[in-house]
Amino acid sequence: MNPLDAMGRRSFLARTGLLGAYAASHGLLLKACGDSGSGTASADTGTPADTDTSDGDSLDVGPPEVAIIDEATLDAVLDALLPRLISETLDGVSGTVVTDVHHIGIRAFVTALIEGGSTIAHADRHRMLEAAASYADAGAELTLPPDLVDVPDVDVIALDAAFTRLLAREPADSEGSTTLTNTAMVALILSLVASRVDPQSLAGPKAAPFANLSVADRVSVLSQLESPDEALRSALESGAPPEWSQRVIPFWRTMVNTLYMFSAVLGYSNLVSSDDPPAGWAAAGYQPLGAVHGWSSLLGYHEGLEEATDP
């Protein structure tokens, strides 16, 4: 039996944010039906109160006029949904750490950092997600918001099948298709923990549950991953391959710290901003003259001594 059956495909896909993204992206589906794989998604600064103005034709265009479609088309739809989840989640993190800065630039740089190393094998990705979903489901009856209940079963099954195919897709044979990257794993697991912290996060302006949380709840999600209780620790470790199960908690601690620190660092850097000066520098009053060759800051030598003695 597909392990997803045990927890319910609809519940799993909802907790990862995929079902919400699917439900909110009928336009994408329609577009994909006509032009496989050309759909795109974008995101904004990731705070719940934000009005999403950047998604163009991807939202609120009514139910799909076609039922289930061929595999390639559904794969293309999924390829469009994942970037949306990733961007909303990462922007949700940076929006929690720094305000009024260039979140898209932060997202791009953090993505490059996270993708810069080893890639997790597909079988391992599968188990890790299953374990995190089991943790999210444990002891709590999930009440899905109406728009997720309304997604037809046939669509859920197809979306689930597409996701399973994605999980099995290795970078080496992807040929340009989306693979489940490290960043996607981060977005999906943050979504799973977010849905446990507050199930209401499955309904909101964002597809990504993490992005629908309050700042306090987002901090709570990150804190739980950084310092998991026994249940979460057990789930995360059990999902990892035995040879590195002992490294899973340090992995998440490093990952969470990376998300916090680079959001802050980049928010106060000129690296991801085309503004001159960047917002973070302006807020700090750094470099009022712009980049300099030097300052008139020389005050001589302490007590007039220009050289240390050496016996």
């Binding site: 490059a112 810069g116 990952m255 106060y268 300099v292 060759h293 030097g294 240390a308």
Partner: protein
């Protein structure tokens, strides 16, 4: 067949290359990262950008991992010709004498006594002096942040130390590998957009107080590479290594060859030489083409740093009979204290660090004048939690009340904005703990998937000794007191997480194979002809002194050992006077080198 192949063109490798090129040996220097010769245009005015320029973002040059996971954490080390000295702050203090075998002071028991240098401090003095004259190392000039530091240090009862040797709890200006300002340097505010630049070379020489030490040093503008203010090896030892045929003609100097973007993946031994293997060849991967090349050498020197050197050793399957390779990682158990003063400090101008306080047996701290993104890093690369939400929760990083304000934990959103809003009034102190070597803290090969250069390194920091913890708390309390004395109305403690800064002691120097990986001259106990010259050979945390100076001193000594043991030569440090890397002969040789192209 080369005389010597050196793996890594950073602080240690460049020193060995220059010293042996000056003796006429055939030197090949391999560097994993890029070679950026034009520092005036290549470096970006952002520390992350500077690191990116040197290979951080290039996919074929993987980052060093703090854990075995993909994301690199906050790093002060990086690839590139020049290595970490490209972005270091140029601080060159000598180590505390108490970490050497011959120390007999009243506080002799206060150090990491199980891991002392096997020889005496005095044995190294001529080598310290050689490096200090070559770079050169000079007393840092004063600016507002230094003046405030000195005044506050006196207020908390610290005397000034006037000598290079650390003999007591004291404060002093840094001894820096940054040329002192001469001419117009330090006397003008000059935006880069200015049509006329009064602090261009040669009207200005030495430090112009731009404040960009951590981004690489491009000043004075227009100066030859070997006349730039900060003495990264890219400005000092590398130019000398590449022109040794010209400035060292009297000793038969031969120009070294350097290949950048060459990632060494394997070391090969000659197994026909008996019980103790003998190094034979080096294989590297051309990071641009992906092709591998192999060359043989009489001697191989590993200078890839305290993480990549043990990684290469283990990936090559070299002998590790006592299981010591990669163990005992130290990093000064760093922390940061940030004071918010009522008056301006203008800390981001001038040398990044020009004032320090030393506490023998405890460690040291120094001022850090940095750009906003650094402050943001200091306040978020923390031991867990978020101030105002969830406090620190990792028991291994619990801290005591040292008089700072509020709970330790990350600062985000409005709290972060508030601190950065006081940017020009900040005084930041960087804590460098005399951190005990603990074998459990180590570099190992990660169980995670390998990258194109083999299995990736895992830096596993598991615990700190009680002495390390106590030392860090002591220093944090002293730093807080200094900040209060400087007028800080608020003091924030980062409780900084481990970072790849001052990484050391994973291939320690010792008297026997049962206690370390290399002998007192840096040669492997188990592989003849294989030397190590980087931070990894440091037997301890140097009492809290910034490590580059000691590493370059030991590399000089290792170069002599290579020359005498394998090439029939004799040492030179005792009998000769070093040539400064700023000497006109080097400038002329460098001009000749570029003229040939």
């Amino acid at each position: 067949m080369r005389d010597v192949i050196i793996v890594g063109a950073g602080a240690g490798g460049a020193v060995v290359a220059k010293e042996l090129a000056a003796r006429g040996l055939d030197i090949l220097l391999l560097e994993a990262g890029l070679r950026l010769e034009d520092s005036e245009t290549a470096l970006q005015p952002t520390v992350v950008g500077a690191l990116s320029s040197y290979g951080w973002k290039r996919p074929h040059i993987p980052s060093t991992y703090v854990t075995d996971a993909a994301p690199p954490s906050f790093r002060g080390s990086n690839a590139g010709v020049g290595g970490t000295t490209l972005t270091y702050t140029g601080n060159h203090p000598r180590p505390h004498p108490g970490v050497f075998a011959d120390y007999s002071g009243a506080d002799a028991g206060a150090y990491d006594v199980a891991h002392r240098f096997s020889f005496g401090y005095e044995a190294l003095r001529p080598y310290f002096q050689w490096v200090e004259a070559t770079l050169p190392v000079q007393t840092a000039p004063m600016d507002k942040k230094a003046e405030q530091f000195f005044r506050a240090a006196r207020a908390i009862g610290l005397p000034r130390q006037t000598g290079k040797d650390v003999v007591m709890d004291s404060y002093r200006p840094q001894e820096n590998a940054i040329l002192q300002p001469q001419g117009t340097a330090g006397l003008h505010d000059v935006p880069r957009s200015a049509v006329d630049n009064p602090v261009a070379w040669p009207a200005a020489r030495g430090c112009t107080f731009c404040g960009y030490c951590n981004q690489g040093c491009a000043e004075p503008f227009g100066a030859p590479l070997n006349q730039k203010a900060k003495r990264s090896v890219n400005h000092s030892y590398i130019p000398m290594a590449l022109t040794a045929d010209a400035w060292a003609s009297a000793s038969g100097g031969k120009a070294a060859e350097i290949i950048a973007e060459a990632f060494v993946t394997n070391l090969e031994l000659d197994s026909s030489t008996g019980v103790r293997g003998r190094v034979r060849a080096v294989t590297w991967r051309d990071a641009r083409s992906g092709e591998s090349r192999t060359e043989e050498a009489t001697v191989v020197v590993l200078s890839a740093g305290a993480i990549e050197t043990p990684r290469l050793w283990l990936n090559s399957g070299l002998p590790d009979t006592n299981g010591l390779v990669g163990t005992g990682y130290t990093d000064h158990f760093a922390d940061l204290l940030i004071g918010i003063l009522d008056e301006p400090t203008y800390h981001s101008r001038g040398p990044v660090s020009n004032a320090r306080a030393d506490f023998p047996g405890r460690g040291a701290f120094e001022n850090q004048g940095v750009m906003p993104e650094y402050i943001a890093a200091f306040l978020t690369h923390c031991a867990g939690g978020v101030t105002g939400h969830h406090g620190p929760y990792d028991g291994s990083f619990d801290v005591t009340d040292v008089g700072a304000d509020g709970a330790s934990g990350r600062y985000i959103a409005e709290q972060l904005t508030s601190v950065l809003g006081a940017f020009d009034r900040l005084m930041t102190l960087f804590i460098m703990t005399d951190d005990d070597v603990v074998e459990d803290n180590r570099v190992a090969l990660s169980p995670l998937p390998r990258d194109e250069h083999g299995r990736v390194p895992l830096v596993d920091i598991r615990r700190r000794s009680a002495r390390s913890v106590a030392n860090r708390e002591f220093l944090a309390e002293r730093a807080t007191a200094l900040l209060r004395a400087a007028g800080a109305s608020q003091v924030l403690r980062s409780n900084f997480l481990p970072a790849i800064v001052h990484s050391a002691s994973t291939m320690r120097m010792a008297t026997s194979a049962s206690a370390g990986v290399v002998d007192a001259h840096g040669e492997s106990f188990e592989v003849a002809g294989l030397f190590i010259a980087d931070n990894s050979v440091l037997p301890n945390a140097l009492g809290g002194a910034n490590p580059t100076h000691t590493t370059q001193t030991l590399a000089t000594r290792s170069a002599e050992a290579i020359f005498t043991r394998y090439f029939g030569g004799k040492g030179w440090v005792a009998d000769e006077a070093p040539l400064a890397s700023t000497d006109d002969a080097v400038t002329a040789a460098l001009a000749g080198l570029h003229g040939e192209r």
